[in-house]
Assembly symmetry: C2
Homo-oligomer: 325 residues x 2
DNA sequence: TTGAAAGCGCTAACAA
DNA sequence: TTGTTAGCGCTTTCAA
């Protein structure tokens, strides 16, 4: 690889001049500029970003932490972040944390050593304390973990309330909830929204709430169990779409007709909900948009050290499909 | 952030000695080592990887190119690669190429400037010519694009043949194929495997092969069309699982019973195939394993400049589920 | 308008 | 066993 010195030599100028041409700043005579550009072309020269980073202390690199990219909620988020960062010539680093604090800390340290410019984190385990010696901007996405960190989330509680009310409005008399993991703030907020609507109903039983893990398989099993114990249930608000697909599957194995006998509504709006039969009614998050906003805010924070904390909370939208009557 | 000089000063040694302790090489007196380690701890010092990279010309960073992480085949691949690279303290960069050559070239240049140590590419568009001035190891994954590049793929043709023969073996008399995009070598190989089995059958019609794009929506539409035109079809080998889910959906909208009237087999073995009703029979690729192998071979190539070209071709496995009788 | 030179933080000869 | 020093490739002051 050619270096700036090779270019300087060929163009008969100093490295400083080449640098000026490269960065388009300072005075450079037009003819000199041309000579330099010719030399650059001739040598197929590309500046070494590592050297630049060392000098500047910035890497033009940002990282996204997700629990697991295999969970279908995250690829769309990742894609959104990557699209924005790529457009701004940032390199996109992906980290799977498995919701494991040790892994998160290890990533955090490693990335700091690489002068990463900023971080977007989907995390249930990290705390304000853990990031106190991180000197680069952090945006929390999908879940909040501190009031001192900018965040992009949705109004989970309100969304859950809308979902549950919708089930009531279409005539459901016994509405259950499959909730996500306790560790995730969004899951707890959705539970609250559900309880807001049903907790004073005379029919409400605490056994109408069962705990899932945001994944398909377990949801299938616990739903079979719950519906066997409680055949009177005629509506389920499920904490996310992936578990709702498990619920759908469970109803088939129990020969329960959806939506005739049981209405199901999920949360997230991931694309798998369009492929099932029946298609899945859901509270749709603007997933791509959330990723875009997180990335935009991060880039803004990177470029404006004296930024305010921004906490955006987006609305979710009821998408009526065929799993509710 | 503390630098090596701060540590040296505090421990009353030279930076060279600190470096020796850091890298565990060369002679260091035990007591000196202790002093240095104490200073490191006291200052919470972490070496600057950018400076290291500049010196070594290596970044401990590898990148994975995929067409689109939203396509559910790729997250598992990405996860596998990230797991391996993370274990070896490499930073994992993800690039969505959209199968767009210009984007690939731009990524390639940008990453070279960052001294990326190696690349794993899932690409249909790149050619030997395009990478001739890439000086770091490249592994092609899922699709081959050159005999001079190490690769990890599956035996698509044989897998397709097995799938098609299986449909015959369970009594299908008119077997169609939804194939993937022409640009992808794996898609064309699967088509060949299908043709190997059916092209000399008296019933075979060229209209039994229709072209999809590896995605759900289009597959739904073209399958409806095909099955309307050709109600005699009683078996479909689908180029990938995502399209097979579209096929399943199409059969429901046409009230065709699967597997009683029509057997369907997909390819890939992504997890969505376990969530459908009926569950999807498929030719399962060892997706995670493929990603792991690609990463392992890449790391090997990075560490052994005089490596041989390795082209691994893995077998796919017939997974019988409920979409075939 | 241009060049000389210092320095970003680290490693590795080489010398002591 | 330890220190001195050059240099990885770049940017930016400062001086000319």
């Amino acid at each position: 690889m050619a270096t700036i010195r090779d270019v300087a030599k060929l163009a008969n100028v100093s490295t400083a001049t080449v640098s000026r041409v490269l960065n388009n700043q300072g005075y450079v005579n037009n003819e000199t500029r041309k000579r330099v550009n010719d030399a650059i072309k001739q040598l197929n020269y590309r500046p070494n970003d590592v050297a630049r980073s060392l000098f500047k202390g910035r890497s033009k690199m940002i990282a996204l932490f997700v629990p697991d990219i295999k969970n279908p909620f995250f690829p769309e988020l990742a894609r959104a972040v990557e699209d924005v960062t790529n457009k701004h010539n940032y390199t996109f680093v992906l980290c799977n944390t498995d919701d494991n604090l040790d892994k998160e800390i290890t990533y955090l340290n490693g990335l700091q050593q690489k002068s990463v410019d900023g971080l977007i984190m989907v995390s249930s385990t990290i705390s304000q304390e853990d990031i106190k010696n991180i000197s680069v901007p952090i945006i929390s996405l999908d879940r909040k973990f501190s009031s001192e960190v900018s965040s992009v989330t949705v109004n989970n509680r309100k969304g859950a309330e809308i979902a549950t009310r919708y089930l009531k409005s279409i005539g459901c008399k016994r509405i259950a909830h499959i909730c996500g993991p306790q560790s995730a703030s969004n899951s707890m907020d959705r539970l609250k929204g559900y309880l807001d609507v049903v907790k004073h109903e005379s029919w409400f039983l605490s056994s109408y709430v069962v705990s899932g893990d945001y994944r398909f398989q377990q949801s299938f099993e616990i739903t079979r169990e719950m519906l066997t114990q409680h055949p009177e249930i005629d509506g389920i608000f499920v904490g996310n779409d992936l578990m709702a697909v498990g619920v759908l599957k469970a109803t088939k194995s129990l020969k329960i007709k959806v939506p005739e006998e049981l209405s199901i509504i999920g949360f997230d709006g991931i694309s798998i909900g369009e492929t099932t039969t029946p298609t899945l009614t859901t509270m749709q998050q603007p997933i791509y948009k959330l990723g875009v906003r997180a990335a935009q805010i991060l880039l803004d924070h990177i470029n404006n050290p004296n930024h305010d904390i921004i906490q955006e909370e987006w609305d979710v939208t009821l998408i009526k499909r065929d799993s509710t009557k």
